[in-house]
Each structure stands twice: as structure tokens, then as C-alpha cells.
């Protein structure tokens, strides 16, 4: 973006290019939205109008939440120039542990049961992630190898917990975490969440603008600010309308936002805050940008690395709980091949495998794209092996496109 040259001279582009410059939009984001639109409309045409129904979009949002939660963590891993191939297996193992604790160790039906089991899942996830991170950061084994080992180890452990037996059914309240029949918040609360989101966005935009203006920094053109805000607000309203348009079976009661999606929104907000507003987030990006510079700046690269993997483990505990609740069962195969979707989501969402670049919101959008593809393929009844071929190809093409994009920017 060569809008400002070194001498302070501002070269303004005219016409459509100038329009997009003033909006300060990421071209990559626009490309992602275009890809999403193509996938949605494409599948809608192929399936004869089934894809773009409230029911399917509602289900799509639930399916996206698991991959989305993990993808936010994968962004940090890849930004710091590592990789985590073990997330699917770790999720599977944690899913078994949560299910077994809930059904066999704690009294099923006790009101605290699901809370304690989820907390156990989160804590164990953090420990597992940190342990892998310790091998990577303090023992110098490449993340690729450590987590490739983890892929086998934790899938094996998932089986070992019950020798492969599926554990079901689970706690009633716990099942709400997965969406399911009653696992959404209804029309009124959906509107409350949506409007609160718009209000928060407006507040943030105004205060940010004021603060920058007060310090005498350049700000975005007012009309551009309003356009961006209006588009985002419209997206939120659209989301609310779609979620509310899907009704509970045989009633006209609106489902509203599913609880797993609410969890995903919470994770996205928390992770975005972590990335933007804390030292930890800043250091992760610095390490990705130039590991040597990070060391010379006195950053404890090892500790940060360990914590990144701990965080991914924690998110695997959360996503595992959601997935287990959705299946209403602990099965040792939960999350198989999930790591591929998660990595693909992060990469499609603009996380560069070269390290140092990526966004949380992009990764969630990537997760939505991946899940749209998968869900669409299920709708057109493509056999699973064929679906895997597509996912594999998409992963490779996404990385190639990232390379092309990075090279063009140089």
C-alpha cells in the first residue's frame, strides 16, 4: 500500500482503487469473502436451494465452532513458526477423559458434574499442550516431530482410556454446549447479543478515532469509517435474522444463536484481545517476524513458545468438550483428521506458514470456508474419501496462494 511516500507526500488513487484504499481493507479479506460467496452460491445451486436455508446455515455455524476454536490457537502456533499436528488427537483424548469422568467417576445428574469435568478437560489440555511445548522450546525437538509423535500418542491414549468403548449418554446440561435441540439461546437473547455487539463496535470505533485524533495521528476518512461500520453492523443483523429464522422442530420458536457458536464468539474476543493488547501476543508476533530479534530484545522465547502450545491444549479441551457434547458421547475416534481442517482454516484465513503474519478473525473465516466446503460435500453426498481428496487439495492450494500473495507484496 503505497499511499504515503517517504516525503510525506500522499499519492491519492482515484476511482475504484481509491475507494478501496480509503476503506483500508485487506485485499486478502475481500478475497476470502469472495471465495465464501462462491462456495455458498455454488452449493446452493447444485443442491437446488438447500444450502442457503436457515436450517443449513444454523448447522453450519455449529459445525464451524469446533474448527474455529482450534484455529484461533493454531494461528499463534503458525505465526511463531511452528506447527501443531496433534490437535485432533489431543482433542480426542480429552474428549474421552471428559466423558469418562462425567459418566464413570462423578455422579451423573449432579449439577456440578459438567462444570468440573469441563474444567478438568481444560486443565489437562493445558498440561498436555505445555508438555509438548516443553519438548519443543526447552529440548529443541522441532514442533513438527513432537506433535507428529503427539498425533499417535494421544490417539492411542484416547483408545486406551476405555479400550475403544464409546461412553454415552452424557449429562443433560453438558449436552447444551454442543448445540443440539435446546442448545441455543432463543430469539430475544440473540437480539440482545447482536445489538450489544453493534453497540460495542460503535463505542470502539468512536473512542479509537477520538484517541487518534487527540494525539494528532492520521485517521481514516469519516465516510470510509461509516461504510465499514455499516457493513459490519449489517452482517451482524443478517446473522441474527438467519439464526432466528431457524425454528425448533414442529414449533415456531426461534432457535437463535447456538451455544457452541456463543463459545466461539467468546474465544474469538478473548484471543483477539490477547493478540492485540497483551505483551504475550506482541511477543508471539515478534518471534514469528524475527526470532533472533526477539531474543536480542530480551524476550523469553522459550517460555512464550511453551505457553503457546499450552494455550492450544487448553483450546483443544474446550473444543473437545463442545464436540463431545454435540455427539453426546465420548468416542476414541473423535477429532480424527481434524488437524488438517484446523491448519487449512488458519492458512486460508491468512496465517502465513513463513511465520509472523496472521489474524484471529481471518482464521475463523477460514474455518467457515473449510466447514462450508465440507458441509456442502456432505449435502451433495460425496463419499468421505472423496471429501478427503478435496480437503487435501485445498490445503496445498491455500499454501501456494499464500506464497504467491507474499511474493507479490515484496
Amino acid at each position: 500500500m503505497d499511499t504515503a511516500s517517504d516525503t510525506g507526500l500522499v499519492v491519492e488513487r482515484r476511482g475504484i482503487g481509491g475507494f478501496f484504499d480509503a476503506l483500508e481493507l485487506d485485499t486478502r479479506l475481500v478475497a476470502m469473502l469472495a471465495a465464501l460467496a462462491v462456495i455458498w452460491v455454488g452449493f446452493d445451486v447444485i443442491t437446488g436451494g438447500i444450502f442457503l436455508t436457515p436450517r443449513n446455515l444454523w448447522n453450519l455455524s455449529v459445525q464451524t465452532s469446533v474448527v474455529g476454536i482450534l484455529a484461533t490457537g493454531m494461528v499463534l502456533v503458525i505465526v511463531a513458526r511452528h506447527i501443531d499436528l496433534s490437535v485432533g488427537s489431543v482433542l480426542g483424548f480429552l474428549s474421552m477423559v471428559v466423558a469418562v469422568l462425567q459418566v464413570q467417576y462423578f455422579p451423573l445428574g449432579a449439577s456440578w458434574n459438567w462444570i468440573v469435568t469441563v474444567l478438568c478437560g481444560l486443565a489437562l489440555g493445558f498440561c498436555i499442550g505445555s508438555f509438548q511445548g516443553w519438548w519443543i522450546a526447552y529440548r529443541g525437538v522441532p514442533a513438527f516431530i513432537v506433535t507428529l509423535g503427539g498425533l499417535l500418542v494421544f490417539r492411542g491414549l484416547a483408545w486406551w482410556v476405555t479400550y475403544g468403548t464409546t461412553v454415552a449418554p452424557l449429562d443433560q446440561t453438558f449436552q447444551l454446549l454442543g448445540g443440539g435441540i435446546n442448545g441455543s439461546i432463543g430469539a430475544t437473547w440473540t437480539w440482545v447479543v447482536g445489538l450489544a455487539g453493534i453497540a460495542a463496535m460503535a463505542f470502539r470505533t468512536v473512542t479509537r478515532r477520538r484517541r487518534r485524533a487527540a494525539m494528532g495521528f492520521p485517521v481514516r476518512a469519516l465516510w470510509a469509517e461509516i461504510v465499514v461500520f455499516a457493513v459490519l453492523a449489517a452482517a451482524i443483523v443478517g446473522f441474527v435474522l438467519v439464526m432466528n429464522a431457524y425454528t425448533r422442530p414442529r414449533t415456531d420458536q426461534s432457535q437463535g444463536i447456538p451455544i457452541p457458536v456463543l463459545i466461539l464468539i467468546g474465544v474469538v474476543l478473548a484471543m483477539s484481545w490477547l493478540v492485540r493488547s497483551t505483551r504475550f501476543g506482541r511477543y508471539v508476533w515478534a518471534i514469528g517476524g524475527n526470532p533472533e530479534a526477539a531474543l536480542l530484545a530480551g524476550i523469553n522465547v522459550r517460555r512464550i513458545t511453551l505457553f503457546i502450545f499450552g494455550l492450544v491444549g487448553l483450546l483443544a479441551g474446550l473444543a473437545g468438550s463442545v464436540q463431545t457434547a454435540r455427539l453426546n458421547a465420548g468416542a476414541s475416534s473423535t477429532g480424527e483428521l481434524l488437524e488438517l481442517s484446523v491448519i487449512a482454516a488458519a492458512v486460508i484465513g491468512g496465517t502465513s506458514l513463513g511465520g509472523g503474519a496472521g489474524t484471529i478473525s481471518g482464521a475463523v473465516l477460514g474455518a467457515l470456508i473449510m466447514q462450508s466446503l465440507q458441509s456442502g460435500m456432505v449435502l451433495v453426498a460425496l463419499p468421505t474419501p472423496m471429501q478427503n481428496i478435496v480437503i487435501g487439495a485445498v490445503l496445498v492450494v491455500a499454501v501456494w496462494l499464500d506464497n504467491v500473495y507474499q511474493r507479490r507484496r515484496r
Partner: protein
Amino acid sequence: MTTPLVEMKNISIHFGGIKAVDDVSIDLQPGEVVGLLGHNGAGKSTLIKILSGAYRATDGEIRVAGTPVTIDSPRDARTHGIETIYQTLALADNLDAAGNIFLGREIMTPWGTLDDGAMEQAARQVMKRLNPNFVRFKEPVRNLSGGQRQSVAIARALQFNARILIMDEPCAALGPQETRQVGDLVKRLKAEGIGIFLISHDLHDVFDLSDRVTVMKNGRVVGTCTTDSVSKDDVLGMIILGKLPSQLSSRDRELLQ
């Protein structure tokens, strides 16, 4: 003589079999500029990286203002007031100027979050002193020119009131105007009592700015001379031949012992 700001005594460091720095002793007085010269691979960068905490010496002692100190990390060096402009600049390419200047020493809000506004403001101020043409504060430094990147690296060293400044090829990528500005800056800092190690291949700059020069060859010190007691040709001879010029004054010979 007053107590030196820094003394590095009998410093050695080995990388595997290579003695990159071998029994080197140098010192620096307050308000003094010491130029470090030598061929490529002489060990200049390695020597100053020991002082800045990037490497740990295999042998030797470092004193700051007379007291022996251990510098095990860049953080240790910074707490002793040692700031470094690295030859490689050591910038995180994906962060903007303020992000780099404050890397590892961020300004925080009362709520313990990053105060990007305050950091950008401070960055604008320090840059105004250094390179008034610089306006691209929102860009990741990857998108800046070589000289602009160098300005950012210099700004980082200036931001935190260094007592001891290490400049490893600070002007390598700078244009003539910016080079002169760095020269002026060195003189100004010197007047404030800051001690500076200046590494440069530009003999002219070094002669202009330094009070003393130390020449290194193959990891060892060839000699240290006061700048006004030798000519450029003498120093060139030291760099190339690794020997002291024969007409060197006895005072300078004593400095070597």
C-alpha cells in the same frame, strides 16, 4: 584517568574450534567514542555482542563503572544502560516502528495492556529528532527502505537513555544526509557523557568521530591508538598487515600493554 564506563578484560569466546575473539581487552570512558576497526570476520560484532548480552564469553571479565558484572542476557545489558544497534538491525519485520522500538519494554496502560497510542507518540517524537522525513509509522518495518529501517534501530537505542551505546555499522544503509545526522547525533550524545563503541568500515567516519580506535584482526587486538596520533594510512596498515606502525608514539605503545 577517571573510572572507565566499561572495561572488557581478557575476553575470549570460542564457537566450536573457532576462536572468534581471543584475549581482547578494551575500555570506554564517559563521553568517549571508541572506533572498532578490522577486516570482515575480525571479531568486532562478536566482541560487542558479548557486551550486549547476546553471547556469553568463554573467558574474561566485564566491569561497568568499576564494578564487575555478569551479563547473561540482553536484559542484563539493558539494566546496566547498555544499548545496542546491531549490524543486522535485529528488527521484527512484521511489527511497525513503535512495536520495534519498544519491543521487550512496552509501555503499558494502568490495566496492564499494551498502550499502543503512547508508544506511537513516543516513537514519533524520537524519530523527529533522528529522521524528520520519516512518516510511515503504521507500516510493518519490512516495507521500509534500508535507511528507514536503520533509523528505527537507532531510535530504539536512543529511546531508553543509554549510558553506553554500541553502534555496529550504524550508517551502512544510510544516505549522505542521514549519515551526517547520525554523526551529529554521536557528537551530541558524546557531549551528554555517553560512551560509544562505533564499528564502521568507513575510515573517514571513524576518524571524524572517534577519540580512540582499536584495530582487530583474526579475533585479536592489533592495537589501540588515539585518533590524533595516527594517520589513516597507519590505521589502514594495521587493519591489513595486523602490525603497529613503527613511528607510533610511546604513549600509544603503553596503551597496548
